[in-house]
Symmetry: C2
Subunit: 226 residues, 2 copies
DNA sequence: CAGTGTTGCACAACGCCGTTATTCTTCACC
DNA sequence: GGTGAAGAATAACGGCGTTGTGCAACACTG
């Protein structure tokens, strides 16, 4: 009946249940007892598989970064790297909105079940940025961003998109500005600010819009399997 | 001995203690019992004055916005509005770093003591942006930002600075990029991106640096009185 | 194919939490 | 001075994360 070794399926089931509880009923509903009840086990399961409640939260953070990476992986590399960059930004935003509760844990700082980021967790996050650094490098190689530093440009993109998404999820961006309008404006400003010319930036942004649905929004990332 | 009416001093004392516990010992140390112990009262004090624990958290959020407003108020309006804008950005960042735990509650989303933002709380936050909108208007009037929309520019500034600060507080910005370098780079990119020319932007940024210490960092903000 | 030890798991308990009911005290008002 | 309203202390309730205890089931030894 009971398996002898730790069961990977049970492990992912627990993460899925936790993520769903978090998404559907908020942070207050994330408890060992509720998770155990949903999984049909005792509260001990959380401790055998994750050591503690915050261990499970950490697992959810890694899951969040994994989904972001998967989202990035769906973005093509074309001969218009600036458009690629815009699509990556959209992918970041889309991922954050679809997994908003995970996102809050990833970047919200502290306060969920006493969880706090370790340097390993952060490194995981920074590693995810590699895709953007690479794209920035291609923009520079294509002569679009002048002599910029790819790492710095990638950080500027990250900061911008992250700031937008964070305020958007916090409910701070409303009419008449709104998140969509702010996103487009910011992207334009930033691209021009790092060296692209106004017309080229506008063209790449227009090109990116056509790709967003196909490369970002279509394969609804699998949240759970329960 | 016991006052007949609700004592405003006791009220602010409770907020101060809560903010200090949060800052010094993290979210886990924020409990009615610990607050009561420090204040020399019973746990009931939290309920008499704030209705609940999350009511106290809400009060801390308002306190956070009040400090930000105070921080903004210390920034002068000069005949170089772009430099003013850069100083405002620095003020935002400085305030967030000095009150990082309040900041996390203001924008971190959910999850502290079941607290969640109401539309009133958000409105308070947006109102604080008025100073930035005004400054953007002066930039435009000075012919620095072309025909831009002040509200949109202010949002771009907010998004940028907020994104930077949030990642900085999360520990994600490290060498070789780092928060300081990223901040200067982002400010330059953004100013140029919204219409300023490269040389003018650089000059205003240089001018702003000299003002930062005096107008932002000197008057260590008083904890509270509300 | 037994014997044996390890280990996943359920159950119950501990100490903490937010919150509430009860009780007492103390002041404001007539 | 009497009376009623309201702040505040105490204790209790249910829920939380976590931990100790005991059992049962598998893996491994011979």
């Amino acid at each position: 009946m009971s398996p002898r070794k730790l069961d990977p399926d049970t492990r992912t089931t627990l993460v899925d249940i936790a993520a769903r509880l978090l998404a559907e009923h908020g942070a207050g509903a994330l408890s060992t007892r509720k998770i155990a009840a949903e999984a049909g086990t005792s509260t001990m399961a959380v401790y055998t598989y994750f050591g503690s409640m915050s261990g499970l939260v950490r697992e959810m953070v890694h899951e969040g970064f994994a989904r972001l990476e998967q989202q990035f992986a769906g973005v093509r590399q074309t001969d218009d790297p600036v458009a690629d960059m815009a699509v990556l930004g959209h992918a970041y935003r889309h991922n954050a909105r679809v997994n908003s509760h995970l996102y809050a844990v990833m970047f919200g700082g502290q306060s969920l079940a006493g969880f706090s980021l370790t340097e390993d967790d952060r490194q995981h996050g920074r590693y995810t940025l590699a895709t953007v650094v690479d794209c920035a490098g291609r923009c520079i190689a294509a002569g679009r961003f002048g002599e910029a530093d790819p790492l710095l440009v990638a950080h500027e993109m990250w900061i911008t998109t992250h700031g937008l998404v964070n305020l958007e999820l916090g409910g701070y961006l409303i009419d008449p500005v709104g998140a969509d309008r702010a996103y487009e404006a910011m992207l334009t400003s930033l691209l021009v600010g790092v060296g692209d010319d106004v017309k080229s930036a506008a063209a790449s942004l227009a090109a990116s819009k056509k790709r967003r649905r196909r490369e970002v929004e279509t394969p609804e990332p699998v949240t759970s399997r329960n």
